[in-house]
């Protein structure tokens, strides 16, 4: 945990610009990215969390000021983005409380004054938690998810609940029963999913960091589409208590930030064993915050000795050529930093996708049985019990969710278990084994996070297999339960300023520390890119 004594002055020194907090001005028009880039002379992102802490403790700003600025910007951008399903009405009150404590020289937590967005499938006791579904419209949980509780205990302010594909099922937020979130890089494109709202909110600087969930790539793919950092922790690293379950053996809560450092700080706060989650690990949580490095340090080959494996199956036909070249450039950058790069083959890679969908639909068909309108949520009017169930569920659940429940029901039916579910579990074993072998021989593995950059809203809706195919890069990691970090590594054609592409770094179980260190070094030494979407590019210091 960060102590108030820690002041990252070295960060300030290495910023090209005098370090100031983000000011939001009304954009007169959207400049092209190239122009912006020339104006801004991009520099690597710095930790907003540490900056805020520094500013608050040095009294150079107040939490209320900070929160007001963000809220103002949020409200201005929301009509374009629709990242949020609910915005908290106690933000300023909470900020006042923090200011009061600071005034009185009381101890404040490491996230004091930090505005956090929380995906709406994570329970918050003071705000609705709909999971993007009409079945839970206006549902208010009687408890905070453990991850949310921990955030709040550290002084974070939950600014609102972000949009998602219903129950986490989907890759675009088009599956939300309420609204579609737009990608801040191009409002006609999807932000990715299912944690699209959380990714867009951080990308558009509506909040500083956010929580999402990742069952088959739902943090990593939107991170890639929105040009932000997304971290999927090891299964068991973060408690699932309070996460509305989609697929219990695959779900994790993950983090979004505009820098690897912020993502690490957030992970630090929410990690740890929870007695309410029997699958949460008792392993000690290392400190995921670390010394920052200088962008110039590339000369010193800070990653010398790191063995990096690039996954062959992720760079084949079916992946955008521009994406492939971004990843290869990123790989070269890693080599420049001293890594040794080899190509790695994971033979069971392609089987992972159908295996994932068998397991996910099966488990979700079971996890969603509880949405029957009897004890909470929307209830249909009915005289007969089966109609009550049938109609409540018919009205409350969206098409994609219904279909997945039906598929899962099929796969678990008597006589089919061996053919589908059990076989999928065996494939899971294969996938775990192949990753283990690959990670014995390599420190980290890399791949794209998605086969393309963000596509247009409406493009993929009709064909389920087309939608599912996009998850090929991410699902195997969920099957294996491994941690993965996605950070922006390049831009491809599209939109007014290009579209971001993220590189996925995969580590061994519980080795988030290594991923964050490598990611941070990569990020800080990457030249020529500033991953701030044009929507917010004005008046920004990177």
């Amino acid at each position: 945990m960060l102590s108030s004594a820690q002041t990252p002055r070295f960060l300030l020194l290495h910023s090209r610009f005098p370090h100031k907090l983000l000011h939001f001005q009304t954009p007169k028009s959207l400049h092209t990215f190239q122009t912006q880039a020339q104006i801004l002379s991009p520099s690597p992102p710095t930790s907003q969390i540490l900056t805020i802490r520094e500013s608050l403790l040095s009294r150079s700003t107040t939490a209320v000021e900070l929160a007001s600025n963000y809220l103002h910007h949020l409200r201005r951008t929301e009509p374009h983005l629709n990242s949020f399903l609910h915005i908290s009405d106690t933000v300023l009150k909470e900020a006042e409380e923090i200011d009061r404590k600071i005034q009185n020289n009381e101890e404040v937590g490491p996230l004091a004054g930090v505005l956090v967005g929380v995906k709406d499938n994570i329970c918050t006791v003071d705000m609705p938690s709909t999971a993007g579904s009409r079945a839970l419209e206006n549902y208010r949980p009687p408890f905070d998810a453990t991850a949310v509780r921990k955030l709040r205990e550290c002084g974070a302010i939950v600014v609102g609940k972000t949009n998602l594909d219903e129950f986490g099922m989907g890759s675009t937020t088009e599956g939300s029963a309420y609204q579609v979130t737009a990608n801040p890089w191009d409002l006609s494109r999807v932000p990715g999913g299912s944690s699209g709202g959380s990714a867009a909110a951080v990308s558009a600087r509506q909040c500083i960091v956010s929580l999402g969930s990742d069952t088959g790539g739902s943090v990593r793919q939107p991170a890639s589409f929105c040009g932000v950092v997304g971290l999927k922790p090891t299964y068991g690293r973060v408690s699932r208590y309070g996460l509305v379950a989609y697929a219990s053996s695959l779900d994790v809560i993950g983090c979004f930030g505009s820098s690897v450092a912020d993502t690490g700080i957030l992970l630090n706060v929410i990690s740890g064993h929870d007695r309410h989650d029997a699958t949460s690990s008792k392993r000690e949580v290392p400190n995921f915050t670390f010394q920052s490095i200088s962008p110039d340090s590339i000369e010193s080959k800070p990653l010398r000795g790191l063995r990096v494996g690039i996954i062959r199956e992720t760079l084949q036909e079916g992946v955008d050529s521009e994406v492939i070249s971004s990843i290869r450039d990123a790989a070269s950058h890693l080599e420049e930093l001293g890594c040794s790069l080899t190509e790695v083959s994971l033979p069971s890679f392609s089987l992972g996708l159908p295996a994932y969908y068998i397991l996910a639909t099966s488990e979700s068909s079971s996890n969603l049985s509880r949405y029957d309108g009897v004890r909470y949520g929307n209830q249909a009017v009915a005289d007969v019990l089966n109609s009550l169930y049938g109609d409540s569920r018919a009205k409350g659940l969206g098409s994609e969710v219904k279909m997945r429940i039906l598929m899962g029901t099929y796969a678990l039916s008597a006589g089919y278990y061996d053919a589908y579910y059990k076989r999928a579990q065996k494939v899971r074993t294969l996938v775990q084994k192949s990753f283990k072998t690959a990670l014995d021989e390599n420190d980290i593995l890399i791949s794209p996070a998605a086969p393309s950059a963000a596509y247009k809203i409406g493009e993929k809706k009709s064909d389920p297999l087309a939608m599912y195919a996009g998850d090929i890069m991410t699902v195997n990691i969920n099957l294996a339960g491994l941690p993965a970090l996605v950070l922006p590594c390049g831009l491809v054609q599209g939109g007014s300023a290009g579209l971001p592409v993220g590189i996925q770094m995969i580590g061994a179980a519980f080795d988030e520390e290594k991923l964050l260190k490598v990611g941070h070094i990569f990020e800080q030494t990457l030249q020529g890119c500033c991953f701030v979407p044009p929507l917010v590019a004005d008046g920004f210091a990177c």
Binding site: I122, C123, S129, A131, L136, Y139, P141, P142, F143, A145, R240, Y241, G242, L243, V244, A245, A247, S248, S249, R275, H276, D277, A278, T279, S362, E363, S366, S369, R370, Y371, D372, V374, R375, Y376, D383, L385, Y389, T409, L412, S413, A414, Y417, Y421
Partner: protein
């Protein structure tokens, strides 16, 4: 139910038609079967003397012949509600009779985002029961989800164990009651597994709606499945009674059928003797007492045998029937559902349950002496089987008995006192043996005092009553009430003389031939002695005096 009547100090007699039950033998029941409308009427008319117990010697009606050609195959599925302080997967406390929907939390209510965490005590109890049932334990078992929709099942699935139960392949030794032929049976146990209970569903009388109380949702259960080894209703009922005894001995459950902490469903099929194939199995539910278990099975056996005999065995379908206590018959459940597909799959929210040898050995060492062992031990002490069954039925009674004889008291006498006066007192006062004020030590003392001649048996009974009601010591009471038996012949002689002198009329009558009056004189002497005269001595001296004076 006679079983519980004779044994039951702790158990409550559930039976409704005691005399009919005791009288029931195959022959009687089947006669009533042939006229189902007048079933209850004929039952009352066919009381038979209690003494005949044997199932072999009965009147050879043609029906009896028919039934002899068939054998029944019976299996029982028992659910035992564990007496843990909290539920299986959450920390909610559970107590029977709480205000509805007050002992609930997000986990047992199936709220979004809630997760189960296993109560370690549940594993401990499961292992205890598994060991007590002589099972093989599964050192690595897991939980599975059993999926179906019902209002008392909040998550839409029950967390249970499907293909890897925690214990399997055991047996239970049972002694059949003496009044039903006695004998020893060993019934196989197929499996024991852990699962959670559902809530309660109540149906309003008039109404268009039902009511759900989720207090009980998530309470831990052990499901115990027997091999289909029973052949008669009695065997099945006794198996169930023994399970109840066992779980009470082990302290894992209070085993109360009325509270629902012990529930039995039975499976019955019949086949012609000699046939290898099993007949169609019928499940019977709604059995709320051991006597219902017995009667329902007997009824169902008859129903099926009769159908077979009439060439209509195809009318026996695999179904679930309900036992109707009022009508004393099984009826089909209203809706015939196809075989349910529970879509089992391993519970992803719970890790595997792993046992270590050390853990299991620890539990094995802590097991109390089980009913079967106790019965065998009591038998070797020379007690009759009737005494054995009585004493071993309730662990507290057995402990009391063991404590009493542990102080050196005579085994047979201790048994008699406990089964006689003590039991009667408890029944009258509606007390448990742990609640009476008599201590085992004092009972032992009482027995010794009588045996040693300090007090008479009659005085002993009086002291006993006082000890049970108010406590105290034998010695103390003897002193306090001056109860020491008079064994001095001279003193007795004095009293005899006095009585005879005071009753000249009766004396003359006696002399005249009414020898029965000796009892009268004896009574008077006893009264004179305030009950302290040694009866044997009294009668001896009295006889002498009476006969001398003639």
């Amino acid at each position: 139910m006679a079983l519980t009547f004779f044994r039951g100090i702790q158990t409550h007699p559930f039976f409704i038609y005691p005399s009919a039950f005791v009288a029931r033998k195959y022959g009687v029941l089947y006669c009533t079967m042939s006229s189902t409308q007048t079933q209850s009427a004929t039952k009352e008319n066919q009381q038979q003397p209690q003494s005949r117990i044997s199932t072999q010697t009965q009147s050879k009606t043609s029906l009896d012949k028919v039934f002899k050609d068939y054998e029944a195959i019976i299996g029982i599925e028992t659910h035992v509600q564990l007496s843990t302080l909290t539920k299986a997967f959450c920390g909610c406390p559970y107590s029977y009779g709480s205000q509805p929907n007050t002992t609930v939390c997000p986990t047992c209510m199936g709220l979004p985002g809630a997760l189960p965490v296993l109560n370690s005590k549940v594993i401990e109890h499961a292992v205890r029961v598994g060991l007590a049932l002589n099972c093989k334990l599964s050192f690595n078992s897991k939980f599975d989800r059993k999926q179906y929709f019902y209002p008392d099942l909040p998550k839409g699935y029950q967390i249970s164990q499907f293909d890897v139960p925690i214990a399997s392949g055991g047996y239970l030794d049972v002694d059949l009651p003496v009044e039903f032929g006695g004998g020893h049976r060993r019934f196989g146990i197929t499996r024991v597994h852990m699962e959670e209970d559902a809530g309660k569903l109540l149906h309003t009388g008039n109404g268009s709606y039902s009511q759900v109380d989720l207090n009980r949702a998530g309470v831990p259960l052990l499901e115990i499945v027997s091999e289909p080894d029973m052949r008669t209703g009695i065997e099945a009922a006794e198996y169930a009674a023994e399970l109840q005894r066992l779980v009470r001995y082990l302290g894992v459950s209070n085993g109360n059928m009325q509270e629902g902490s012990l529930r039995c469903d039975v499976n019955v099929s019949v086949r012609p003797i000699g046939q290898l194939e099993f007949g169609t199995k019928v499940e019977i539910k709604n059995l709320n007492s051991f006597s219902s278990v017995n009667r329902a099975i007997d009824f169902e056996i008859s129903r099926q045998v009769l159908l077979h005999n009439q060439g209509q065995s195809n009318q026996i379908v695999q179904e679930t029937r309900l036992w109707e206590e009022g009508a004393q018959k099984t009826v089909p459940m209203r809706k015939k559902e196809g075989l349910s597909d529970y879509r089992y799959f391993p519970e992803p929210d719970l890790p595997e349950v792993t046992l270590s040898n050390k853990y299991v050995d620890g539990i094995r060492r802590s097991l109390p002496e089980l009913p079967e062992m106790k019965r065998r031990r009591y038998e070797t002490m020379g007690l009759s089987i009737q005494d054995v069954l009585f004493l071993a039925n309730d662990m507290n009674v057995a402990d009391f008995f063991d404590a009493t004889i542990g102080n050196g008291a005579d085994v047979k006498l201790a048994a008699n006192w406990i089964m006689g006066d003590v039991a009667a007192y408890m029944k009258n006062e509606k007390l448990l043996i742990t609640e009476i004020k008599l201590s085992p030590e004092e009972l032992g003392e009482l027995i010794a005092s009588i045996k040693g001649g300090t007090i008479s048996g009659k005085i002993g009974k009086e002291i006993l009553f006082e000890l049970m009601a108010k406590g105290g010591t034998v010695e103390g009471l003897i002193k306090e009430k001056d109860l020491v038996q008079i064994v001095d012949p001279l003193e007795i002689e004095k009293m005899v003389d006095k009585v005879l002198a005071e009753n000249p009329k009766q004396l003359e009558q006696y002399r005249g031939g009414k020898t029965k009056l000796q009892g009268f004189f004896a009574g008077q002497v006893m009264k004179e002695s305030k009950g302290k005269a040694n009866p044997v001595l009294l009668n001896k001296i009295l006889s002498e005096k009476l006969n001398v004076k003639s």
